[in-house]
């Protein structure tokens, strides 16, 4: 009997691969790329117009790097950017820690007295319109200053930011934690792990995407905040949004575009560095 040729190798076409993929949903890839496009189109425009030689943010005349030169010489905008970053980093770290703890305490438990209240308190800063929080916080700190003589400097702003960052960090973490079953932690307990050990090795890694999402939300909320920061900031504490906002009435120039581009470039560098190091460590 002649030998049968081996069957031709099975090379799936893209359509076949798609059909075999469990997670495939039609159109979702397109929406995701559309989102990216929509998010980045203004950024690209922003970067391009930062090289616009004339002072208008809307009319393109010619290529020029004069705005970058101006930013390099403008200490006010640099200080504003650095202050923004300082506040945002501290507020994010504080808010994420507090939010993680709070999420652990309010999810996956039988209802206890005060659960509803705790939940409301945690989410309260979300519900208050910013201008009201701003005026209230300003009055509060002013009272602290005049009655008790306490002035925490930049920490005032950091605390004020932490207050509204907490609910932004809390909700994604909670969303992640709900429905996370306890069998893994129970298994760990069966294996004589202490609660802290179980938390560190099991819960925390499982929770990480939620924590990262929460931290990012907190960061972008803090770095963009205008109203509260305007009223609560003291002398020398101008942040970048305040600086930019104050320019609206008198005319925004591509200088702000240049500053934003620089900040963007710096953030990309930092995060890439972080990822790179994280990959190295995994190896």
């Amino acid at each position: 009997m002649a030998e049968l040729a081996p069957p031709p190798p099975f090379i799936a076409s893209r359509r076949q691969r798609r059909m075999l993929d469990l997670t495939y949903q039609p159109g979702f890839r397109g929406v995701a790329y559309f989102c990216l496009f929509m998010l980045y189109a203004p950024i690209v425009v922003l970067v391009i117009y930062s090289f616009n030689a004339n002072p208008s943010v809307t009319i393109w005349t010619e290529f020029g790097t004069n705005w970058y030169v101006k930013v390099a010489a403008n200490q006010y905008i640099q200080n504003a950017a650095i202050t923004s970053l300082k506040i945002a980093v501290v507020a994010t770290i504080g808010a994420t820690i507090a939010a993680t703890a709070a999420a652990l305490a309010t999810t996956r438990t039988l209802p206890y007295r005060g659960l509803g209240t705790a939940y409301v308190i945690i989410n309260l800063p979300l519900m208050v319109p910013e201008i009201v929080t701003a005026v209230a916080t300003l009055s509060f700190f002013a009272m602290g200053r005049t009655l008790l003589g306490i002035d925490l400097g930049l920490a005032n702003l950091m605390l004020a930011h932490m207050v509204f960052c907490i609910p932004f960090a809390y909700l994604p973490i909670r969303a992640r934690l709900e429905d996370m079953d306890r069998t893994l932690e129970q298994a760990a307990a069966d294996l004589y792990a202490s609660p802290w050990h179980a938390f560190r090795r099991i819960t925390l890694p499982l929770l990480t995407p939620g924590i990262v999402a929460g931290a990012m939300l907190a960061f972008i909320t803090s770095i963009d905040d205008v109203t509260i920061t305007t009223l609560v900031a003291g002398p020398g504490q101008t942040t970048l949004p305040i600086y930019i906002f104050g320019q609206i009435r008198r005319g925004i120039t591509p200088e702000t575009n240049a500053a934003s581009t620089i900040m963007l470039a710096v953030s990309v560098l930092l995060v890439s560095l972080f990822f790179f190091l994280a990959q190295r460590r995994k190896k």
């Binding site: 809307t58 006010y76 200053r145 925490l152 005032n156 020398g236 305040i242 906002f245 320019q247 008198r250």
Partner: protein, 402 residues
């Protein structure tokens, strides 16, 4: 177990410690930068951060006067302010950095500059509590309000050395007769700017806003300012300002509601609106109008025959400010013609100081926006209205924009 509780408390303590250290780090920076100099300056720094009580001012005047009499030793280091500090709170994009540098060099003072976007934000912040600023730059009506509320220090600029340079017509003004509190910074008018490529007729009337020709309908931007819009309407109807009369207000409301459909936007960012051709007519300040004309020569600033608003921004010192002596020096500094010209060249508005013309940019000396033509009506400087009127105006504004 207890670990949870302890963990929580430890976390809180660590967070607070980090915060206070970060906050103290800020304070220490300010302190160290100002105390690289002579003796009492350390007390200057601490007093400026703890509170704005009057005890701070006496030590300040002591420190600064001692530094002005003694020759500054560290002249190479521009960041060594033996003269103390000055905290300025001004409109955004309104203070010439060169002016600040010159002031810092002349008096060896470290200046911080912060921005606000409107008089109201500034007032809300000052009223909300002690803030640590020394100098603010309110508009005319806001000066009147702040003096009434006791928020300004009576620094008597009229007894300062450079006061003789102030143009006499800006001395006895309704908001500060005789200039006991404030010093002129910039002044201007508010009317509107028209793109004469689109509209070829006579621009000097509010009819273009309230009853526009077809080519301007839907191409108009109004300032997002209750007073400016209402006053424009009152002028067009030839009714008095700060009007409480119910019939007048009814007419005004009808006029505004009828005209709203011709208006495309309400926005302060007027320069962008015009240069990007989103609108062809916009209520605008004269200096902004000049900037637009420099980019698009067909833009013309209108001087409506029914009247227009005049305004002046003034340098004022907050009551109980931590660095009053330096603030007074700044007020005096700004009254010098050369320095006033520095301000004007940056912000593109007229200042109130005689003799500054020869230091100002040439294109400002000939600009029709800055130098009013003889045929234009005198600008009205309007005092703030009383609260009943404001309440009524509020209701109208809400009605207009709801």
């Amino acid at each position: 177990m207890r670990k949870g509780l302890i963990g929580g408390l430890v976390g809180v303590t660590v967070a607070f410690a980090a915060l206070t250290l970060a906050g103290c780090g800020e304070k220490k920076e300010e302190q160290s930068s100002s105390s690289t100099s002579t003796t009492e300056s350390s007390s200057t720094a601490s007093s400026s951060t703890t509170s704005t009580t009057t005890t701070g001012t006496t030590t300040d005047s002591g420190a600064s006067s001692s530094s002005t009499t003694s020759t500054p030793s560290t002249t190479q280091q521009a960041a060594a302010p033996e003269g103390g500090e000055l905290h300025i709170y001004n409109w955004g994009n309104y203070t010439n950095p060169e002016l600040i540098k010159k002031f810092e060099a002349t008096y060896k003072v470290k200046v911080t500059l912060d921005d606000y976007d409107s008089n109201e934000t500034m007032l809300a912040k000052i009223k909300g509590g002690a803030t640590g600023y020394d100098i603010v730059v309110p508009s005319d009506y806001m000066v009147a309000v702040m003096i009434k509320e006791g928020l300004l220090e009576e620094t008597k600029p009229n007894s300062m050395e450079n006061f003789k340079n102030v143009d006499p017509r800006w001395v006895d003004v309704y908001w500060d007769k005789g200039r006991n509190y404030t010093v002129p910074w910039q002044w201007g008018t508010t009317a509107f700017t028209v793109n004469t490529d689109v509209y070829k007729g006579d621009v000097n009337t509010y009819k273009l806003i309230f009853d526009p020709p077809p080519e301007l309908q839907g191409r108009i931007n109004m300032l997002d300012d209750m007073n400016e819009v209402i006053n424009a309407g009152l002028r067009y109807l030839n009714l008095p300002r700060c009007n409480k009369n119910p019939e007048d207000l009814k007419k005004l409301t009808d006029l505004l509601m009828g005209a709203k459909k011709y208006w495309r936007t309400f926005d302060y960012a007027t320069i962008q609106k015009l240069t990007s051709k989103d609108v062809d007519l916009s209520q605008q300040w004269n200096g902004a109008s000049m900037r637009v004309r420099l980019q698009m020569p067909s833009m013309v600033y209108a001087y409506p025959k029914e009247g227009l608003t005049g305004w002046m921004d003034n340098v004022a010192v907050l009551k109980g400010a931590p660095n009053i002596e330096n603030a007074k020096k700044f007020q005096n500094f700004v009254m010098d013609p050369e320095n006033a010209a520095l301000v004007s060249n940056f912000a593109h508005y007229a200042n109130g100081i005689a003799g500054s013309e020869k230091f100002m940019d040439k294109d400002m000396a000939a600009a029709p926006e800055i130098v009013m033509p003889a045929s234009a009506p005198a600008p009205e400087f309007l005092p703030p209205c009383d609260e009943d009127t404001v309440k009524l105006y509020n209701a109208i504004w809400t009605e207009l924009k709801k």
